[in-house]
Subunit: 372 residues, 2 copies
């Protein structure tokens, strides 16, 4: 294949100068219609495309946003970030923005990667996921004036309204509250909550949604709240074992809401194994697993999350980066309200080996075990 055509080739073909071609491409309004048409024909004929690297070198921007992709896919709900990535790519594409992926083992390595990408003018801005309290990454980014937006609130109290920190998040409180109220409307009157240990801001937010609903609508007291509030790690087996212990202790429980689909699935299995396979259970994330198994779940509308993230970074419509100070007056964050997707569940019957969870998996094959 011959050398790709440059702007000069087009200029020659249309008998105009470089700059006029450039103007046709970037500011068509200032070019006389007749010449513009001539140039456009030449562009089409030569199938000319601007050389992105050259443009970047001159303009000092790349129309590219980077996001870290973790090596490991952590089970059921792990696909959430993948779904976000799909939505983000799609939305970005519509704005002429592209998504670059990178990996990093830890926050320090991620910062180094960011520095490299940034210095190379490869990337205009960054999308951070899985932020945590006192995250060193956001601190560094603010300090070095690197544009970014996070999927996830900064949970530190004063950070929440820090104008230099743009963020989008899903309103776990509202989602969990809607789920709980839905169960109440369907007739449940004693609803338990399966969540994570009280370290994660996200988990506590969802827990408060349940608390608020049962206090308002079922007049739960503190005793009830404590008795029906379970905290386990986000593992199917842990949720299962916890719920197996919970249900016989309180026969009146007639509903469960869970902080994730993983927990919900564990709860479903537990309920079935103690003869309560009719127990209504609602999860969170609307994962593919949940969809397949007929689990009702709170759906994080990731399209809206992705759109919000790009809006904060790039403004309402364009593809150009808005400097964060220039966005004065606009909100610096978006809180997306998720919505319940209700399904008729499959009923599960647990395996015989509920009591020996570690034995439920074993790899076979001559080369390597399956990783999760």
């Amino acid at each position: 294949m011959a050398r790709l055509p440059t702007i000069d080739d087009v200029a020659r073909a249309a008998k105009v100068s470089r700059q006029t071609v450039s103007n046709v491409l970037n500011t068509p309004a200032i070019v006389k219609p007749s010449t513009r048409k001539r140039v456009e024909v030449a562009i089409r004929k030569l199938a000319y495309r601007p050389h992105a690297s050259a443009r970047r070198l001159r303009m000092r921007k790349s129309s590219t946003i980077a996001i870290r992709l973790d090596p490991m896919t952590n089970g059921i709900s792990g696909a959430l970030l993948d779904r976000f990535l799909h939505a983000l790519t799609e939305q970005a594409d519509a704005r002429g923005i592209r998504i670059l992926l990178f990996t990093a083992a830890d926050p320090a390595a991620e910062i180094e990667q960011i520095r490299k990408l940034r210095a190379g003018a490869d990337v205009d801005a960054f999308v951070l996921t899985a932020t945590f309290h006192g995250d060193p990454r956001t601190e560094w980014l603010v300090e070095n004036d690197v544009p970014f937006v996070t999927f996830g609130r900064p949970w530190g109290a004063n950070d929440m309204n820090d104008p230099s920190h743009l963020w989008v998040d899903v309103d776990g409180f509202a989602g969990m509250r809607e789920a709980t109220i839905h169960l109440i409307d369907e007739g449940s009157s004693r609803i338990g909550f399966i969540g994570w240990p009280s370290l994660s801001g996200t988990g506590d937010d969802r827990r408060r949604g349940w608390q608020t609903a049962v206090k308002e609508r079922l007049a739960f007291g503190d005793d009830d709240l404590a008795a029906l509030d379970l905290s386990v790690e986000d593992r199917l087996e842990d949720a299962r074992d916890a719920v197996v212990a919970l249900l016989p202790s309180d026969e009146r429980i007639d509903g469960l809401v869970c902080a994730s689909d993983t927990l919900a699935l564990g709860a479903m299995i537990a309920a079935a194994s103690v003869g309560r396979s009719d127990l209504p259970i609602i999860g969170f994330d609307n994962s593919p697993v949940g969809q397949a198994i007929g689990l009702s779940s709170v759906d994080q509308t990731l399209d809206e999350v992705a759109a919000g993230a790009l809006e904060l970074l790039l403004g309402e419509t364009g593809g150009d980066l808005v400097h964060r100070d220039a966005a004065a007056g606009n909100t610096r964050h978006r809180l997306i309200t998720p919505h319940l997707v209700s399904r008729q569940p499959l009923r599960l019957l647990a395996p015989d080996a509920v009591s020996t969870p570690t034995a439920t998996k074993n790899a076979v094959g001559n080369h390597r075990n399956g990783k999760e």
Copy 2:
């Protein structure tokens, strides 16, 4: 933030010329050790990073590989490409290569995107997924001399060894054969196959794996093969309904192998609903769903697939593109052998509503329905 340091800043600080700094970075061997050290110190002190766009403009390469990311996540097995993407990103990162995402609604749009990315010198090479027979994309890429590798064989007979088409694929035949033989070793003697209609090369490949195993080890005749070979679309409901019909028709069936986890999950539900929840079933893909539900499955070792793809594009170790003709003598493709991951399954009990599949889902919520 002040202007980022350039190579000239470093040169000045180290009292050498541009080019020497460049040499320290790219061909350190030809620089005298004493000066090299001086330059390295200056680089560290200024925290200098080469400007990627400038380098690309000069070198005409980008160290970036692009891959299309589909907007939709099609259910259970759809996550396969996501898992591949994770593996690819990780492996690429180790070689100093980055992954750029783009979207396209159809093959024609994808070709246009590729043309744009290519012309902009944004991307050195492309990874194509979900190739099909007579794929216009591969044709165009070969014709325009654009480097690429596909995840998926070209199923056209002569294309398979076309030296200009690099490909990596998973050996579905071997995987399905292993799965079938595993069931036989565990005591099954009449094993059915649930696959896709005979259009997809992938599906037929897996079917042949089952056929070969049961012919060799169970001495199946053509009648048996036909009676135990089901073809349905890759939907849980379809598989369920088909298996519900199959099992009562032949009481001796004591095992099923399926072309995907989606089908396998449908089969599990069907088996449970006709009182055969003990029926051994093996899926394909080792999806997160399957992992959660304890489904035995054939795992596509995507690490190896990703590594293979990069090896074909870039050679054994480096980050530099190998021109496909320069790779003469080496193989132009990789066929990865997948391996069975055996698990103890949860037993499922189907819902009452098996007979009315369309009613198993309904969205609730005041704003919008959950999309899939």
